[in-house]
Symmetry: C2
Subunit: 238 residues, 2 copies
């Protein structure tokens, strides 16, 4: 029996080896999904806008069925809403839902901060500590928000990667793609980036000294602070 299994395994490996598919540039569903995700996240397609299957099928040069399939995924992630026989529209975010997304984000990012601290040697955070020391402050002073946001993304992605929890990572991803434009608007609120920077430093300090529980607590405080800023300026953000 085991010999038989071995034979089968070899055969599979042999087959799988020659996977060179040439010619005919096919547009994969993943590529379409990614493109639409980016457009919706960047508000290139505004909330409430209708997505026509035919137009998208023509644009990507694929049959309508493929677009339909992608719509299914987009719907399950909450990025679009589908009404039977009436098509798909980009989900409209109201303030209430944004707060609920932030409540979930708070606990998930807190979790990731703790797990990250526990999983990797504390020295590995030194480069981020350094970056958040002088450079990030200078970005703010110079009004270079793009560089600041890059530094923010860097910290976030490193933390999630170090946490090593694909479940949490995927959930956070689905939150980011729904709120990325909100995040960008919060950062430019008066005084918010400065306060946030100070909080990030505190979180990083806790991570640097290997205190996972404190990193989680501080990260959650940071998220609550962001939520409060959002609430204070709600009329300017949404």
């Amino acid at each position: 029996m085991s010999a038989k299994l071995l034979t089968l395994k070899n055969k599979l490996q042999k087959r799988g080896a020659r996977s060179e598919r040439s010619g005919k540039a096919v547009v994969t569903p993943e590529a379409i999904l990614e493109t639409l995700r980016r457009r919706i996240a960047g508000q290139e397609i505004p909330p409430g806008a209708k997505l026509r299957e035919q137009d998208l099928a023509a644009e990507f040069g694929v049959p309508r069925t493929r677009i339909r399939e992608v719509f299914g995924t987009l719907e399950s992630r909450g990025l679009i809403e589908r009404i039977p026989h009436r098509g798909a529209v980009v989900t409209r975010l109201d303030m209430e839902l944004v707060f609920k997304l932030y409540d979930v984000r708070e606990v998930l990012e807190g979790l990731c901060a703790r797990l990250a601290t526990e999983n990797v040697p504390s020295e590995s955070w030194q480069d981020l500590v350094d970056h958040y020391n002088a450079p990030m402050a200078n970005f703010l002073k110079d009004g270079d928000f793009d560089a600041y946001v890059d530094g923010y993304d860097w910290l976030r992605q490193r933390t999630i990667a170090a946490a090593g929890n694909p479940i949490a990572a995927q959930m956070l991803d689905s939150i980011y793609e729904r709120t990325s434009f909100v995040i960008r608007r919060i950062i430019i609120l008066p005084g918010r980036a400065e306060a946030g920077l100070e909080q990030h430093r505190a979180v990083l300090a806790a991570m640097r000294r290997g205190d996972g529980a404190e990193a989680e607590r501080l990260k959650r405080l940071n998220m609550r602070s962001a939520k409060e800023a959002l609430n204070k300026f709600r009329n300017y953000v949404l």
Copy 2:
């Protein structure tokens, strides 16, 4: 090996059972999705088993395209894995992934406990407090695990409903449908249900007196305790 046996079984079933479409009863994708979810969650379809589109299409009396659509959703929820040209198999859970699911579950249930406490009048928990006082203890004493599990589900669903956060609710749902069989096995571990009951009472007491922060803290402790039990008896659970 077991997959092979299952294949044979399905083939036989296909021969024997006629489609038998009664009239024009249309089966919605949602119904199919729900059925498959339940089968996978209840391990009626065991992990690693292959799902054949044709068989399912014949069983539900729908075109294969519909099954395909449902597979897309199932895949995005992590319940199945699809390999190009080789079909869909039920995701196999290893211990590592279960722990990661529990880490996320811990923070999300903690969040819901807090939100629930903050959102509804504290008196509204009295019926659950009463139920967890004597009846639940009796269920355990009598070995009536079904009744105990029902009480457990009741508390959980009430908490999530009161929390009023559809994002967290959906995420927790996707965790439950992947770990429901683990939950059932943890409960019958020696001494686990008794310890759990005590912890649930503590959480409920905090909710009853309107202390959301404490409810969250206790709920998280409860989850960690469950995770420890799971770790201790890992060889018996998975």
